[in-house]
């Protein structure tokens, strides 16, 4: 990044449109299914500048409105065109703390890129790939642009959970001079970024690097600290002296199907499977102590992004056949198109319109097979998607030795249950007021991310974390002026 780079000229708009979107270089499918290294290899400087040259620099850029954290996209893209990669990453970091992560896992095709003017006639500017490029370059250069922090305010904020919501909230509060402590239940920092998303989509060194930057800003991180068990929210306020608390505890409670046979050995939740593989590095067993059960024939139930991660991990762990069982069709699959396509390239056997009815096992308790019901699409349901209905008499059996259930997660009730007075909805999600920046039913307690919305995306969680940081900053001001008081709970010894 230190050597000056010759940028590219600004072209006439019609010439910009003639440049094709630069493809992302990737590991070949036959090769990549044998390793856990990242699939996407990243742009070169030339490719990045050519891609940036395509941007029409709209007067009213729709992409900015499409971004949950409102990055000034045309500005950073134009800096890339000029060869000012350092300037570009600084521009992104004005609103996005974790560009190397978002450049990889954001669903750009539904956010910034879908509204790109070029999309109508051509293909959108590869905004995510450009974001990723400059973020990676900065990390590789070792010259980090650390944000300036305001002088210490003396206020202390506890953040529960070190996933995307918590990390984003922590960064913004620390910048405003508040002393932040993140409490993480697991032994590693990053939440879903480390236990859920596989190495081949998001290398863990990137998460570690971003966490290190937060520490350099002064954020304290306590891993292995389970709020609700090691200490309650009440104790954080009244014994540890925190002035505000943010819940970024995510959606970590696995759903099962409640069909016969789910107790057989080899049936596991997506959380279990991915935690073993990603957090505990079971793909390097026995060098790492935690093993994972992946047999020769693996069925993954569900077709969201988590299911895609499970399918592709199973393939990399050496399963001969990996089957996706989903009751709707490809068109209704909630996974990102890019993830679906990559899974298809990796020889996954997709069984659309298929619903599992029962899991079979042997006397020793191991999975041996599954009964599947063929479905067809009927009338649209409440979600607007056509409801899958069973085709009578269409049941058939498949032989499998592993089942991964990836049909969704809901908020883990451990911390919320230990916090009396915190209002939850019927799904166990924390109820927040968007008007007052993610405040909850308890004064000084804020929440954001999947624990509020149910399972969603990294960038939405980050956006919510940033919004909550503004809410918490306001709250701390009111606390200082004596306009608010910390929550109190009735004495337990009464």
């Amino acid at each position: 990044m230190t050597e000056p780079i010759q940028g590219l000229p600004e072209l006439a708009k019609k010439d910009r449109m003639k440049i094709p979107r630069h493809p992302m270089p990737e590991q070949e499918p036959l090769h990549r299914v044998k390793n856990f290294a990242e699939v996407a290899l990243g742009y070169t400087a030339e490719a990045a500048m050519q891609e940036a040259q395509r941007c029409l620099q709209c007067d009213k850029p729709l992409c900015v409105a499409g971004c949950p954290v409102e990055i000034d996209i045309p500005a950073f893209v134009d800096l890339i065109r000029q060869g000012d990669f350092k300037g570009a990453v600084s521009k992104i970091k004005e609103t996005n703390t974790l560009p190397a992560i978002c450049g990889r896992v954001c669903p750009q095709e539904d956010q910034c890129e879908v509204v790109c003017v070029l999309t109508k006639k051509f293909t959108p500017v590869a905004i995510g790939r450009l974001e990723r490029y400059v973020a990676d370059l900065e990390r590789a250069s070792g010259e980090i642009d650390m944000p300036e922090c305001a002088p210490p305010t003396g206020h202390r904020v506890a953040i529960i959970g070190s996933g995307p919501a918590g990390l984003a909230c922590a960064a913004d509060l620390q910048k405003r001079g508040h002393q932040v402590t993140i409490f993480e239940a697991l032994h590693k920092t990053g939440g879903v970024l480390v236990y859920g998303i596989p190495e081949f989509r998001l290398p863990k060194e990137i998460v570690d690097y971003e966490v290190e930057n937060l520490k350099r800003m002064g954020v304290e991180i306590r891993t292995g600290f389970v709020v609700g068990k090691t200490a309650t929210v009440e104790e954080l306020f009244h014994e540890s002296g925190f002035d505000a608390v943010f819940f970024g505890t995510g959606a970590g409670l696995p759903s099962f199907m409640n069909i016969p046979g789910e107790h057989y050995i080899g049936v596991q939740s997506a959380n279990e499977f991915l935690t073993r593989v990603n957090l505990m590095k079971a793909y390097e067993f026995p060098s790492y102590d935690t093993p994972v059960r992946t047999g020769k024939r693996v069925a993954v139930i569900g077709s969201g992004n988590v299911a895609m991660d499970c399918l592709r991990c199973a393939k990399r762990l050496g399963a001969q056949e990996v089957i996706c069982v989903y009751r709707r069709t490809r068109a209704e699959s909630p996974a990102r198109k890019e993830e679906l396509e990559r899974a298809e390239e990796e020889f996954i056997d997709f069984r659309w319109l298929s619903a599992p009815l029962e899991i079979y096992g042997n006397d020793e308790g191991f999975v041996t097979g599954m009964k599947i019901q063929r479905m067809e699409l009927g009338e649209p349901d409440a979600s607007g998607r056509r409801r899958p209905v069973p085709i009578a008499g269409s049941e058939y059996d498949i032989g499998i030795d592993t089942v991964v259930v990836a049909i969704g997660q809901s908020p883990n009730p451990l911390a919320t249950r230990a916090t009396p007075g915190l209002e939850l909805n019927r799904h166990g999600c924390i109820v927040v007021d968007q008007q007052t920046m993610m405040s909850t039913s308890l004064p000084g307690v804020f929440a954001g991310g999947d624990v509020v919305t149910g399972a969603a995306t990294v960038i939405l969680a980050m956006g919510a974390g940033k919004q909550a940081a503004r809410g918490i900053h306001d709250w701390l001001g009111r606390l200082e002026r004596g306009e608010a008081t910390k929550p109190t709970w009735p004495s337990k010894s009464a």
Binding site: A185, F225, H263, Y288, D289, T290
Partner: protein
Amino acid sequence: MFAITRKEEIAPKFWRFLVQAPEIARKHRAGQFVIILLDGHGERIPLTIAASDPVGGTITLVVQEVGKSTMQLSALPVGTELLSVIGPLGTPTHIEKFGTVVCVGGGAGIAPLLPIAAALKAAGNQVISILGGRNKDLVILRDEMAASSDEMFFTTDDGSFGRKGFVSHALADLIAERGKPDLVVAIGPAIMMKVVADLTRKHEVKTLCSLNSIMIDGTGMCGCCRVTVGGSSKFVCVDGPEFDAHQVDFDILIKRLRAYLPEEQVARERYMADHACRALEGARA
């Protein structure tokens, strides 16, 4: 943090550790457990807290050397800091004055039984303890259990101590002689808890057991530890580890405990081979 401050071998391949963990010691209630990690390559090991000292800021862990990680832990010298000690996890035992409570412990299960017996005794219960093991050496923590028991009975498989036989035999005789107790707490190998549950079901005596299924996170996130209780799926780490023993499907639990036997063997053999090499190198040096 999490330094081992004391270590003693209380029976062959049974180790008692004192570990610095002030926050956990302060919050611990009987029936709860911790998850520990030895190092960056380690697995997450659930261990019941056998005792806690809120003033000294330590917790007591009793570990039986059975697999790679417990062997590795047992070899650590005093002063070693564990990478992580997480807890106290699980729902604490419901303690009240029930009347007469029989605490039945088998082998390594005596360690988790200890704080429960102590809490029940402190709540004014008459505590009768039945402790068993394969032989005399493996009936661990006898003195500690005696301090919280009004009466003690012992059984060994080989007859080397107490009566020859299983804890369930002693419990059956006790019920036959004295009538039904108000509560039985049984902790030990799954098969022992199953046999005790079958016995007390017949006599309609409320029975609690503490389950030791395979876990990863210990906070309700993965569902690996799930057991079938009363026909529905429960997570041992958050809904338990204690359950009504009459409702637990022990047959499923026993099978699920064997899920990773081949991998456990690989890890153990690899560790032992590595350990033997290092010992040889040490001897040569």
